[in-house]
């Protein structure tokens, strides 16, 4: 990992010095033990703070979209002849690059506006799994030592294997190496257990509908409508979300259970064929709502019905924005 980090910093520095990018979106160490946070580096000398390790959670494509669209909006107030282009460099692991492909296919920005600093990924630590393993004890000190976490809690010191606390989506990840990249920092990472990708969804599907609905209701009852899931999601980039439209108001903003369910169902369905399973929505949720089971079901459907995996290649269009003559139509003719 250290070698990858070193290479990443060198390449980032070079890109900024040669003015090939205006900003690098990456990760830096957080203020709490065992955390990393998104970072925006514009000064070449600041590239030393960039990190790449198993604590880097967020899908950074969300920020690429933010930076580009904010810049474009600001340019609207500039005379056409004085307008500039902003180039964003981004530290891209597999899922991040899949989201970037989706953005490119959905024409959110152009390939020339981004430079992808590819990094191999072995998965990230699920903070909630770690917390459960530590029986809820607060982490007072922590250090990442290769494949192990050295953790100090009130109960004493402990060594935890990173492999034991990887996020569920990372364990079965099919795309843990960048799908597109302009530069690669390090050799490709070994494959994860992608043959088990849909095992959990299949188990969920096999349960009776009452049980599935009860599970959905139970999970959604935890939601406090902070919208962290939507905000963290690279595929959720509508300038105005239906949940915030007021003329008409599609969904109430209060804690009524049906409003929360409608919000989440709508968001989940907007992810049909567009979810890259980066796990960001689950990682940011302060209440631990299981959104992934439902999102993964739609992902499975998109693959099984249309043979499409979002962001698998630039040439493979997103499933809901294309039509092929012989694709699945059973749901229309024999619902």
């Amino acid at each position: 990992m250290e070698a990858i980090e070193k290479k990443l910093r060198e390449e980032a520095k070079k890109l900024l010095e040669e003015k090939k990018v205006d900003v690098i979106v990456g990760y830096e160490a957080g203020t709490l033990p065992l955390t990393a946070a998104p970072a925006f580096v514009t000064d070449p000398s600041d590239t030393t703070k960039l990190v790449w390790n198993a604590l880097c959670v967020q899908n950074l494509a969300k920020y690429v979209h933010d930076v580009v669209s904010q810049h474009r909006n600001a340019q609207k107030r500039v005379k056409p002849e004085n307008r500039t282009k902003k180039v964003v460099g981004v530290v891209g692991r597999g899922c991040t690059t899949r989201s970037i492909i989706l953005h490119l296919q959905e024409r959110q920005y152009t390939r020339e506006e981004i430079v992808v600093l590819g990094v191999p990924c072995r998965g990230y630590v699920d903070k909630k799994k770690l917390s459960v393993l530590l029986e809820g004890q607060e982490i007072v000190h922590g250090a990442l030592d290769g494949e192990r976490l050295k953790v100090t809690t009130a109960a004493g010191d402990r060594i935890v294997a990173v492999a034991d606390v990887l996020a569920d989506n990372c364990l079965i990840c099919r795309f843990n190496n960048p799908v597109i990249s302009d530069l690669m920092a390090g050799e490709p990472a070994p494959a994860m257990r992608s043959d088990e990708e849909y095992d959990a969804v299949k188990a969920f599907e096999s349960r009776p509908s009452e049980e599935r609905w009860a599970y959905f209701e139970k999970e959604m009852a935890k939601c406090i409508r902070c919208y962290a899931c939507r905000q963290a999601c690279p595929s959720c980039y509508c300038p105005e979300c239906f949940a915030e439209q007021s003329r008409p108001r599609w969904v109430g903003i209060g804690e009524d259970a049906s409003d929360t369910q409608v919000f989440q169902i709508m968001r989940i369905f907007h992810m049909a064929g567009r979810c890259v399973d980066c796990g960001s929505c689950v990682a940011v949720c302060p209440m631990g709502v299981d959104l992934r089971t439902f999102l993964k079901k739609l992902d499975k459907d998109a693959y099984e019905l249309f043979g499409s995996r979002v962001g698998a290649s630039l040439d493979d269009p997103p499933v809901l924005s294309t039509y092929r003559e012989h694709e699945c139509e059973d749901f229309i003719y024999n619902p």
Partner: protein, 342 residues
């Protein structure tokens, strides 16, 4: 002031007894979360916990609250009622920081000039039983920097302190003294009070996070246009985690909901982090980007509230620090502001 000594294994039974007569709110484990909520019949409150994920402010200032109901008739809209009923409630196991938040919220919702009837009705009927922080629950705790303390009784009617072999129970207000009868007959001894003093001192020493919360006010007074505000918001997701979990955040939004001819006016939590916050009917938003929204959040807590009420609107519970999904740390922000060059 009445003081009692309660055996360790007695406390749970006492809470249950109180629960038979009052609507008790307490920390409860719900799956992986510890939540501050109304105790359902048969539900066990937690006595050993760090702090609840949600702040107890929701008891007085719910996330959603019906203000009025009305009905649409051919002759116009007719008011059906104002909802102001509140039940006698006991809030058990509040942490001292969160108890202090009630005093800060009172400054706004229960002023001499303006009284919020919905808040005041619930607040007046509630007795706050605080469980002191011995030991201090989190490394992110910084209550001592904002005027509180791990064994501080501000905002509490009853203060319960774990002194090792027993709980020392202090009844701080007349409201609190109504509960004395539930806590047995054993009067507090001088030895127990000494133990409490020692535990309090130890707890204060355990707090390692210190921020210049009061000191930044004169700097903020002249820093509205400072370039510093360009540096903190970039990674912010614009979610409401910090404000929704915060014990002192109290911005709200009022909306009407109709079902056929029946209408209700609701007050819902709002968040300065949301793009819709302060958006005007015209479409104009005086806080168009996350930069202005972050400035509002910091200014509201460390300047405006000081201007209006001479109090910092932060109790140092550490929730926003621990649960921000992208690690925006208010402690670092305040620290950085204190070092700003004008």
């Amino acid at each position: 002031m009445e003081k009692r000594l309660v055996k360790k294994d007695e406390l749970l039974r006492i809470v249950k007894k109180v629960g038979a007569e009052f609507n008790v709110f307490a920390p409860v484990r719900v799956e992986d979360n510890v939540l501050f909520k109304s105790l359902a019949p048969g539900e066990e409150p937690l006595l050993t916990f760090a702090n609840t994920k949600n702040a107890p402010k929701g008891v007085f200032f719910p996330r959603t609250e019906v203000m009025i109901r009305y009905v649409r008739t051919p002759k116009g809209t007719v008011l059906k009622g104002v909802e102001l009923e509140a039940r006698d409630a006991v809030l058990f196991g509040v942490r001292p920081c969160d108890a202090r938040s009630f005093v800060l919220l009172d400054l706004l919702f229960d002023q001499d000039k303006y009284k919020d009837p919905y808040y005041v009705a619930k607040r007046e009927k509630a007795t706050v039983v605080t469980l002191a922080c011995t030991p201090v629950p989190y490394t992110a705790c910084f209550c001592t920097s904002v005027g509180g303390g791990p064994v501080d009784g501000t905002g509490s009617d009853v203060l319960v302190t774990d002194i090792g072999d027993a709980y020392l129970v202090e009844f701080l207000t007349p409201k609190g003294e109504r509960l004395v009868k539930y806590f047995g007959e054993a009067k507090a001894t001088a030895e127990a009070e000494n133990k409490k003093e020692t535990a309090a001192k130890e707890a204060i020493e355990q707090i390692k996070s210190v921020i210049p919360a009061r000191e930044v006010k004169p700097i903020l007074d002249v820093s509205f246009d400072h370039p510093f505000w360009d540096t903190i918001h970039k990674r912010c997701l614009a979610c409401g985690t910090c404000t929704y979990l915060c014990p002192t955040c109290h911005c709200f939004d009022i909306s009407d909901e109709m079902k056929y001819d029946d209408g209700r006016r609701l007050r819902n939590w709002d968040s300065c982090m949301f793009p819709l916050f302060t958006k005007e009917t015209s479409g104009h938003n005086p806080r168009p980007t996350q930069k202005e929204r972050w400035r509002q959040r910091v200014m509201h807590k460390f300047k405006y509230y000081v201007d209006n009420f001479n109090a910092v609107a932060c109790v140092g519970c550490g929730r926003c620090v621990m649960y921000c999904p992208v690690n925006i740390d208010i402690r670092k922000i305040v620290e950085d502001i204190s070092k700003l060059q004008q």
